[in-house]
Assembly symmetry: C2
Homo-oligomer: 296 residues x 2
């Protein structure tokens, strides 16, 4: 039924090999900057979580600097195997994938509530690499330890931005009502949630896996009422609980390195001939994530 593309397939492979193609250099999300190469930092195994889904493996870095109580509770729940077997029961394409035991939806639970950790005190010693000032939703944005961050120097507050890949606790009306169920942002950054949720981590490897999580019906707020239709958490494990000889190591680009600052600059000022209409010198902090990688 389909055309025979074997010839064009052969030509394509040749083309792929030979072409020096400006668009790739100009547009690639992970192309190196014009300056020095960014360095990478190892992720502390106490802050590294492996989320195993039927769709594949996801690595999450926790951020106790911004959400210490949330991270402590999440670590404890991981160690109790609380999440193993639970579904992503509320998944809205372009918004969030939310998983857990449903306590966010009015379910009884004896797991303690977590108090609001929506922002933290700003201090000058935080390794802040600036991105944009002002940003539509914040006086300033930048990176701290790989996480896109909002900053209000007048209020002396910093907070984690709701970028794609961010992991946060769901809650109800009360700011102090998050507990167990968490979501991953899977679409255009819902920045209106900034400073309103306990953001406590981000996906550093495996967003392609997260994007395969089964969606729920848009006209029912993404709720998947049939448990058997939902994507399921096989296991959620803290790296430091894995025997050292079996453990994968994770690295993320060091956002306090000169190389990362250079990378941001090269994206803020796109001077390649490719750009017929040079973009304004602004950056969306959520569009330049710090990449991560896993190694044996």
């Amino acid at each position: 039924m389909n055309r025979d593309h074997s010839h064009s397939g052969e030509r394509r492979r040749r083309g792929l090999r030979d072409a020096v193609c400006v668009i790739l250099l100009a547009l690639a999300a992970t192309a190196p900057a014009a300056g020095v190469e960014p360095t990478w930092r190892p992720v502390d195994p106490d802050n590294l979580v492996f989320l195993e889904l039927q769709e594949g493996r996801v690595a999450i870095e926790l951020n106790p600097g911004f959400a210490p109580q949330t991270v402590a509770q999440f670590r404890r729940l991981a160690q109790e195997h609380f999440y193993d077997g639970l579904p992503f029961y509320r998944v809205i394409d372009g918004f969030v994938a939310q998983g857990g035991d449903g306590s966010d939806l009015g379910e009884l639970s004896d797991v303690p509530l977590i108090e609001a950790e929506f922002e933290r005190a700003w201090t000058d010693d935080l390794p802040f690499t600036p991105v944009q000032k002002p940003d539509p939703f914040a006086p300033e944005t930048g990176f701290i330890d790989g996480f896109a961050t909002g900053l209000d120097r007048a209020e002396e507050k910093a907070w984690l931005l709701h970028c794609p890949g961010v992991v946060a606790m769901a809650r109800n009306d009360s700011p102090d009502s998050s507990r167990t169920d968490f979501y991953v942002v899977i679409g255009q950054a819902p920045r209106y949630l900034d400073r309103n949720m306990n953001v406590f981590g981000r996906v550093i490897v495996g967003m392609d896996v997260v994007q395969r999580i089964q969606r729920g019906p848009a006209d029912d707020n993404g709720i998947i009422r049939d448990d058997t239709a939902a994507s399921r958490i096989r296991s959620l494990t803290l790296a430091s609980d894995v025997p050292k000889e079996e453990r994968l190591s994770a690295f993320v680009m060091d956002t306090s390195s000169k190389g990362f600052a250079d990378l941001l600059d090269s994206r803020r000022h796109r001077t390649q001939r490719f750009f017929r209409h040079p973009p304004p010198p602004v950056l969306d902090a959520c569009q330049v994530p710090a990449p991560g990688r896993l190694t044996r």
Copy 2:
């Protein structure tokens, strides 16, 4: 190995049924506005494309108002079954999924080149529903016929924004070098590409399917060199070429309706008690897409 969640599963279902849960109303991407309901408009079958992948069905609306030559060539290629069987050969998670015959990568092709259609003339009779002014990348943003649009009244130009779901032609260094290969934006809007590409459509149904397209290696610009590993286009068909009795109809929310303007207002001014820190009254045009649906 996993805990027995049958009890909590039962409880969860009960919770799902009974809970009146503010977070759902407050955060849902498609919740109705406080004002009148938005109306829907039918999509012209000449502008409706069914992209069938092994991963599922995707519906795309073409936009001849902004990119008449690109749409004309794409329609012709669809009618020639040009795309049937071709792979998505360059897929970068969080950025774009690009498919076609590889001519964008230096492949020989006898398909004519398309001249740049990066923007169109602004005229006051265009059905523009405002979103944000100014926006970081444009003097104004809004919606025209369901598409997120940038507007510069001084230059009398309007253009389609690079939001998630947007479909555009790949090109090389010359602005007039697009031809056959196209990409779908699958991550945080790469707005720096605005006014630099032939944007000619957007996905109105099936972004969850697009998100399942096989990714390529990040360290090789997402290029999938093994043809057998790539996601493949089973068929790409114009709705008007499908016999009427077999054809699905598509509808998109009418972005020129009072209801849609009310919906935007309700997202710009989030006054629910849920918001401990009320967000600033700004909107990211790419975060409020006009939904679409398919019916028999």
